[in-house]
Structures are given as C-alpha cells and as structure tokens.
C-alpha cells in the first residue's frame, strides 16, 4: 500500500501526469461530443474543464501543480493564434467579397458586446466592480486582462467572465442561429468569434471551416476594437 502512496506522491508532482491527464480527459470529452453529433450542450471545453476540476478537487491537487504539466498545452494557444493566418489566406476571396458587411457587423457587434453587458449589469443591480469586469468580456483573454489592468477591474473576475462568455457563446450559437434562420456560415462564424473569442472560434471550426475562418477574423478584429472602445464607452455607460 505504501508503494502506491509513494508512486502517487512522485507522479502527482511531475508534469507528465497532468499533461497526460489533460490530453486523455480532452480526448474523452471530444469523443462524447462526437458521439452526440457535436450537440451544442456537449461542449468539449466545458466537459473537459468540469472533469479535470473534479479530479483536482478529489485528489487535493493545487492548480500550480496541475499547470506545471498543462502549461505545454496552454503554450500552443500562441502558435494556434498565428495559425489563423492560414485559413485567412485560403478564404481570402470570400473575405474580400464580404469586407463591408464584416466591418459593419464588427462595429455594431463590438459596441453591442460592451453596452449590453454593462447595461444588463446595471439593470440587475450589480455593483461597479462587476460592470468593469464585464465590459471587456467578449475580447480574447490576453486583451481583456490588459483592459482590466487599465480600468482597474478585478483580473480574476475578468478572466472568469471571459471564459464563461466563451463557453456560453459556443453553446448558444448554433441553436440561436437556427432560430434566426441564418444559414450564412460567414455571418454565423463571424458572430461566434466576435462574441466568444477563441472558444467560439473553436466551436465554429467544429461546424464548418469557412465559419471557423470568419470566427478567427471576428476574434482578432474585436480584440483590437474592444481595447479601443471600452475606455471610451465606460465613463458614459457607468453614468
């Protein structure tokens, strides 16, 4: 028995265990998602995060220990962002043709993302701290954290809200677009990326490569615009 304890103590402290756990849990979550024919509710990110959180809680593992292994996966977010250039080159004619609708949707969508979050928070009687953290929630995590630093929002609360926006958008987007009878994958994908950054983009790539490409553009452009708009709109919205 003591050997098992020693083995656990050794393995649980090494990056190998938690890197492997991240991959295996994701493969299982993705298999469930495929088995349910990519049903929006069976979101692989949400399922994998839930399973891993239960495992960490059950084994009493601290997050830094887990992240020592998982960081190798996390690191790939950078190269994956760069890789979005490839579908952009491939679909360049489609992108060119839709430049005007895309930029119009970008401006309206970006303003809507910020104002709807802050005004709903006001309506629901949430405090100023919550409104500051909600404002940049549609932008990608790195940009949202930069904005939070400038506006003085709580960084951890901002990060939670960003991830929650990603997961809820990835779940809502397909049924919502079907209700709206929107069949244009460029419009659907662009909305997913603009609203729910990388997690929405991951969902769009699961559905259709053209949707994924437009989601990638939406994520990039809205990141930039949100960084510009939040400082401009906040004083006016908080009034």
């Amino acid at each position: 028995m003591i050997n098992f304890v020693e083995l656990w103590v050794y393995l649980s402290g090494s990056p190998l265990l938690w890197l492997t756990a991240t991959l295996v849990v994701y493969i299982a979550a993705d298999a469930i998602s495929v088995a349910l024919r990519r049903h929006p509710l069976a979101n692989p990110v949400l399922m994998a995060v839930a399973f891993l959180s239960v495992i960490l809680l059950a084994t009493g593992t601290q997050f830094p220990t887990y992240f020592a292994g998982a960081q190798f996966v996390h690191f790939l977010l950078g190269p994956a962002t760069v890789a979005l250039a490839i579908p952009l080159v491939r679909y360049l004619p489609d992108v060119r043709r839709t430049l005007v609708p895309m930029l119009t949707a970008l401006i309206v969508g970006s303003v809507t993302a910020i104002t709807s979050a802050v005004l709903l928070a006001k309506l629901f009687g949430l405090d100023r701290g919550a409104m500051l953290a909600l404002a940049p929630k549609s932008s990608t995590a790195a940009i949202a954290m930069g904005i939070a630093e400038k506006t003085g929002a709580d960084p951890s609360l901002t990060a939670v809200l960003v991830i929650l926006t990603g997961i809820s958008g990835a779940i809502i987007v397909t049924p919502l677009m079907n209700v709206l009878r929107l069949k244009n994958y460029a419009a659907r994908g662009f909305a997913a990326g603009l609203t729910s950054h990388g997690i929405g983009t991951a969902r769009a790539f699961q559905v259709d490569p053209l949707a994924g490409t437009f989601a990638g553009i939406g994520l990039g452009l809205n990141g930039l615009l949100t960084a510009l708009l939040v400082p401009l709109l906040l004083p006016w919205l908080l009034d």
Binding site: Y26, V82, L84, A85, G223
Partner: protein, 114 residues
C-alpha cells in the same frame, strides 16, 4: 512539420518583439498572425506542411483552452453572492451580441448584393 512549427513560432516571436518595441495594446500572437498572413499572400500555393500543421492546431483549438478554463474555475468564488445575476448577464449579453452581429452581417451582405 518541424519547419511549419518553426514558421509559426518565428512569426509569434516577431509579433511579440514588435508589440514590446512599439508598445502596442495587442497580444503578440495576433500581430504574429498578421505578419504570417502578409508573408503568405506572396506564397501561392501555400506550403502544404504549413497548411497541415495549422489545420491540426485549429482542429483541436478546444483542447488549448482546457488548462486556462480549469484555472479559471478555481476563481469561481469571486462571484460570491452575485453568481446568479452575473451568469444571467453573461448569457443574455452573449445571446444579444451573437444575434445582433450575425443579423447586421447578413442584412449588410444582402444590401450589397442588390
């Protein structure tokens, strides 16, 4: 595949360096994406290995959010007594933004076609 991975990393590194040098309010990888895009515009057809590596990474983009997602769940206590209201605001604002963005895109595209 190694050349493709190196191409992605070199682009990211150039992006990170540029962001620091000019102090842009944009993440380095986003600038790296723009740089790679500009370079690849002159390269038709795309190098097949780069295409395959990019597709491989993007096919499993969901996986890459798992560590950050797991980390963020540890901070759920930040919601405190506001949990229900915060989740409601996020879900509603997300649905509104999705609908408005997609509808504006679609109507502008139809208007352009006329």
């Amino acid at each position: 595949m190694i050349t493709a991975l190196a191409t992605l990393l070199v682009s990211q590194l150039a992006g990170e360096a540029l962001v620091r040098l000019v102090s842009l309010p944009i993440p380095g990888p986003v600038v790296g994406m723009i740089l790679l895009f500009v370079v690849m515009l002159t390269r038709t057809p795309l190098p097949p290995a780069l295409g395959e590596t990019a597709d491989g990474l993007l096919r499993h983009l969901s996986l890459l959010f798992v560590p950050a997602g797991t980390g963020v769940i540890q901070h759920l206590d930040r919601f405190g007594t506001n949990a229900v209201r915060l989740v409601a605001v996020v879900v509603l604002a997300t649905a509104i933004t999705l609908a408005v963005t997609a509808l504006v895109f679609e109507f502008a595209a139809r208007w352009m076609r006329q």
